[in-house]
């Protein structure tokens, strides 16, 4: 199948976008009090770490970080089967009355976020949970919206958005793949 790749964000644009998202997050919560930044496995974890670092630089305070693997909370185990390897969940913070920022790379159907909200509820009752995504590609199947969005794209169901981060993929980029390749 033919594919058509478009770079939506290169490394520098991605860095700018993350900085803007960090500012939006601080504004949303009116500071960093009681804030916990939680990345969704996998790429959300690296993005959360970057945003936390930017906030630390600009605000001069360390923001606690966590990681969430929602594999075991998915609603499609029976149809899709187990993910090859379940990633680690690392939430050493008491979430009671915290301001949680959930970070993911791409917001699409909203099912990942639904699962993440379910999982967070098993760890405590935060005062508020906000959602920050690098790319909102539309196509929601659940009533879920992001509070902070890096880039909004309108992608057809056959398209795919690949977010790459240095820590995992060797480079920073957001690529729009117009047609799904055979896998």
């Amino acid at each position: 199948m033919p594919t058509d790749n478009t770079t939506v964000l290169d490394a520098r644009a991605m860095d700018r976008t993350l900085r803007r998202m960090a500012d939006d997050i601080i504004e949303l919560y009116d500071g960093t009090d009681r804030m916990v930044i939680v990345g969704i496995q996998r790429r959300g974890v690296q993005l959360a770490a970057r945003i936390a670092r930017i906030i630390e630089e600009s605000e001069g305070v360390a923001v606690p970080r966590g990681a969430l693997d929602i594999t075991l909370y998915r609603d499609d185990l029976q149809t899709v089967g187990p993910r090859p390897v379940v990633g680690p969940t690392d939430l050493p913070w008491n979430l009671e009355q915290r301001h949680v920022v959930l970070v993911d790379d791409v917001l699409y159907t909203g099912r990942t976020v639904r699962a993440a909200l379910d999982e967070l509820a098993d760890f405590g009752r935060p005062a508020r949970i906000a959602l920050a995504v690098l790319v909102d590609r539309g196509g929601r199947e659940l009533p879920i919206h992001a509070d902070v969005v890096g880039k909004t794209l309108d992608v057809s169901p056959t398209g795919r958005v690949d977010v790459m981060v240095k820590e995992v993929d060797g480079r920073d980029a957001v690529i729009l793949v117009a047609q799904e390749t055979a896998q």
Partner: protein, 320 residues
């Protein structure tokens, strides 16, 4: 629908090293769930699992039950004690009745070797072998592998000696298959009467003296002397067994290095293992128990899943 492991987990012998690694890797994140305040994830919600234990068991049954409950499955325990009906007929009947109740998985322990496979061939539900006669106890073998990997980092090239009653031990068989597939050097040590005649066919080193085994090994997996099966005069007396083959502090000290101590339980303290070794710094016996829950969660999770080609596609991420 078959998972990456196939329909059932009956033994480690037919598994590939890749499949074993998948189970061990999947068990890692499950360890953390048992440390949470709410020790439960919804992965197996709505699945019904029957724990069919035809033979006494505390640790394994409870471990499976915890694993099932922490994955949100619905569980039923059937403690079928000795029946007058011959075992074959009992199992066929049991299988038919279970199928009629629309269950999803069966965890079976039975005193007859091959009972798990017999059941697996006759029902559509996933079957997990929790120990069948002297054949295999795959989840015990896997949790031993996980415990060894936790401590050694990598398994390949390490030396593990399985000590004691190898003849009656399904744990020994699962361990030998699993360890060898993962590239571990395996030895056995015990009285000749408690080693299978064909032990050399397993491709393992045989030590006749426990001192030699301790000298050689990075880890000792000390088996329980199965007193209830000792009806044929395999050993002269328990005291003599301890004197010749017991893993004692004195013998361990002579090695002058750290050797990991495993035991599948329940222990006969003062027979195959002395208390100060069982409770010593190098003992990982309780870690084995903790890892057992994670391993069983991983196996249940992997068997419950759908088609492998979709799992493969999912590797590239859920939402894109």
């Amino acid at each position: 629908m078959t998972s990456a492991l196939g329909k059932d987990l009956l033994a480690l012998e037919p598994l590939s090293s890749g499949q074993i690694r998948l189970i061990l890797d999947t068990a890692e994140p499950f360890k953390e769930i048992s440390e949470r305040a709410i020790k439960k994830v919804p992965a197996l919600r709505g699945q019904t699992i029957v724990n069919l234990f035809f033979e006494a068991s505390t640790r394994t049954r409870i471990s499976f039950e915890f694993a099932e409950k922490r994955l949100s499955a619905d569980t039923v325990n059937v403690a079928a004690s000795g029946s007058s009906v011959s075992k074959g007929e009992t199992l066929v009947d049991t299988a038919r009745n279970l199928e009629a109740m629309r269950i999803d998985m069966v965890v079976i322990r039975h005193s007859a070797s091959g009972a798990a496979q017999f059941l697996a061939e006759r029902i559509e539900s996933n079957v997990i072998n929790a120990g069948d006669g002297t054949h295999e106890h795959p989840t015990q073998g896997l949790l031993d592998l996980l415990t060894l990997r936790d401590h050694f980092g990598t398994l390949a090239g390490k030396r593990v000696c399985i000590c004691g009653d190898v003849l009656h031990s399904r744990v020994a068989r699962s361990n030998i298959w699993g360890l060898k597939k993962m590239g571990v050097e395996v030895a056995v040590c015990g009285p000749r009467s408690l080693l299978p005649n064909a032990i050399s066919e397993f491709g393992v080193t045989v030590f006749n003296r426990i001192e030699e085994a301790i000298e050689w090994a990075d880890a000792l997996n000390i088996l329980r002397l199965q007193l209830e099966r000792m009806t044929a005069g395999y050993i002269p007396s328990l005291r003599e067994y301890n004197r010749v083959f017991g893993v004692t502090r004195e013998r361990m000290d002579r090695a002058q290095r750290d050797i990991l101590i495993l035991h599948p339980g329940p222990m006969n303290r003062g027979v195959e293992i002395d208390s100060d070794v069982a409770d010593g710094d190098n003992s990982v016996i309780l870690e084995q128990v903790t890892n057992g829950v994670a391993i069983r969660m991983a196996v249940l999770y992997l068997l419950a899943g759908g088609r492998p080609e979709l799992a493969e596609a999912a590797k590239h991420g859920g939402e894109r």
